[in-house]
């Protein structure tokens, strides 16, 4: 593991989470993740262009980063009760569509109308559905302590494996950014060691699910992640809906033992599919 890259990519979200969540509670998690992701982008590559600059000179990966930040902002607004819970599905759908549209805006100029409808329109539906599914999975259990830690840890593993998949799909940078999101969630769970409880709210599913789907679709369209492994990984969170609702509420450990293999099996299959032929010399 490259310590320098690890520090640039993982340290900013971890520091942001430790500071904000320790001081002001779990409701700061989306904001801390957004700050950490922004700083990680800046330290790993260059300070990202601001949205008004991107209108003139678009860059898909930068728009992707802002899309994940937007989904976190939505979750943060709902946690502060600035956004009514009933508006979250509509707002999440709008953020999903806008984020993917902007992320793919430059590559899509060379696509046919059918491809645009399929990849941008269909992809937006997929991102929104993933956001709402992860939100639903989190909402199925008590939001605090053991239950929240169980589902949180599983989602950290999912995002970390997404990061590995993106690296295998040729882009270390996309993988590092996805890893930064995983690091933020992992660090927040870590704060449960000295804080009384860790709370994961349903609305956090918006940015966690959004990051999962947006990064994988960016891996396909902006880099060279093949469709088969990406599709398997994209499908994984939906399998969590198969685990009975009451299991998560009454027996979090049993829930984890059933849910983990269910969601991780397709992602490990995706990793296996994406592993290239070995190159003894590296490059």
């Amino acid at each position: 593991m490259d310590l320098d890259v690890l520090l640039r990519g993982a340290a900013p979200p971890i520091v942001a989470v430790l500071l904000l969540v320790s001081l002001a509670g779990s409701r700061m998690l989306p904001l801390a993740m957004a700050i950490g992701l922004y700083v990680a982008y800046g330290l790993l590559k260059e300070w990202p262009a601001l949205p008004h600059e991107l209108w003139r000179d678009p860059n898909g990966v930068t728009w992707l980063m802002w899309g994940v930040v937007a989904s976190a902002t939505l979750a943060f607004a709902q946690r502060l009760r600035l956004l009514p819970a009933r508006l979250v599905p509509s707002a999440a759908t709008a953020v999903a569509a806008m984020s993917l549209w902007l992320t793919l805006s430059k590559v899509a100029t060379r696509w046919s109308s059918v491809d645009v409808a399929l990849h941008v329109g269909g992809g937006s539906v997929l991102v929104a559905a993933t956001m709402l599914t992860v939100r639903q999975v989190i909402a199925r259990r008590p939001a605090v302590s053991a239950q929240a830690i169980a589902v949180g840890l599983l989602l950290v593993v999912v995002l970390s494996l997404d990061a590995a998949l993106l690296v295998l799909g040729k882009s270390a940078f996309l993988g590092q950014l996805c890893g930064a999101v995983a690091a933020a969630l992992g660090a927040a769970i870590g704060t449960a060691l000295w804080r009384r409880q860790f709370a994961l709210r349903a609305v956090d599913g918006i940015w966690i699910g959004g990051a999962h789907a947006l990064f994988l679709l960016a891996g396909v369209h902006l880099s060279y992640l093949p469709w088969w492994p990406a599709g398997l990984a994209l499908a994984a969170p939906f399998l969590l809906l198969l685990v009975p609702r009451r299991l998560g509420q009454e027996h979090p450990l049993v829930w984890l033992m059933i849910a983990a293999p269910l969601v991780l099996a397709p992602i490990f299959a995706a990793l296996w599919l994406a592993i290239p032929e070995p190159n003894p010399y590296g490059y």
Partner: protein, 197 residues
């Protein structure tokens, strides 16, 4: 909820611009030249692990120039290199080079150079122009040497240039911090211009 999820498909199909139509080739004037892609090359070298010069090339170089031998300063050059034609003698590495870590080829399928000023020194040139690479544009000035002139299915004229750029200027910072790949990239561009008969 279902209708809500279908909304992006409808909006995107209406809003997203589609592929631009192909512009017909301009009629050639007396001083207009085409780049003969089959006899033009772009080779690069970059330090690997601070140990050796690692070399690669772009296999598709195209473009056009307007050069009047009696008034070279009034000329212009426009080059286009297909980003996905990068060849580093390893397909896996080529894929990585095309990813957002380096050239971001899916978003930036072409590397372009457009001259903004030409200074003549005999038959040699000093060309200033905008180099667009990986989504960023920088003005660079490069020395261009005249190689020769001949006739083979049209009048032909050759130029060569060697220059270096910092890839970090174009947002390509992967591997610089640990010296896995150097920041300085040296390029040799050899052009054969032709005026077809």
């Amino acid at each position: 909820m279902k209708s809500l999820l279908l909304l992006p498909v409808i909006l995107v199909a209406v809003a997203m611009p589609t592929a631009a139509p192909v512009v017909p080739t301009e009629l050639m004037g007396e001083h207009d030249w085409l780049v003969d892609a089959g006899h033009s090359s772009c080779v690069f070298r970059v330090k690997h692990a601070n140990a050796s010069w690692f070399m690669g090339s772009f296999d598709k170089v195209d473009g056009k120039a307007t050069l009047d031998s009696s008034a070279l300063e009034k000329g212009s050059v426009a080059l286009t290199i297909a980003t996905e034609s990068v060849d580093s003698n390893d397909k896996r590495r080529d894929g990585h080079l095309m990813s957002p870590d380096f050239f971001n080829a899916k978003e930036n399928p072409e590397i372009t150079f457009k001259s903004t000023k030409i200074k003549a020194d005999g038959k040699d040139l000093e060309v200033t122009g905008d180099l667009s690479l990986a989504g960023k544009t920088k003005s660079i000035t490069i020395p261009v040497s005249f190689v020769g002139e001949g006739e083979s299915r049209g009048l032909r004229r050759g130029y060569i240039t060697e220059f270096a750029i910092k890839r970090s200027d174009f947002g390509m910072t992967y591997g610089i911090s640990k010296n896995a790949l150097g920041d300085d990239v040296h390029l040799i561009v050899s052009l054969e211009l032709v005026q077809p008969k």
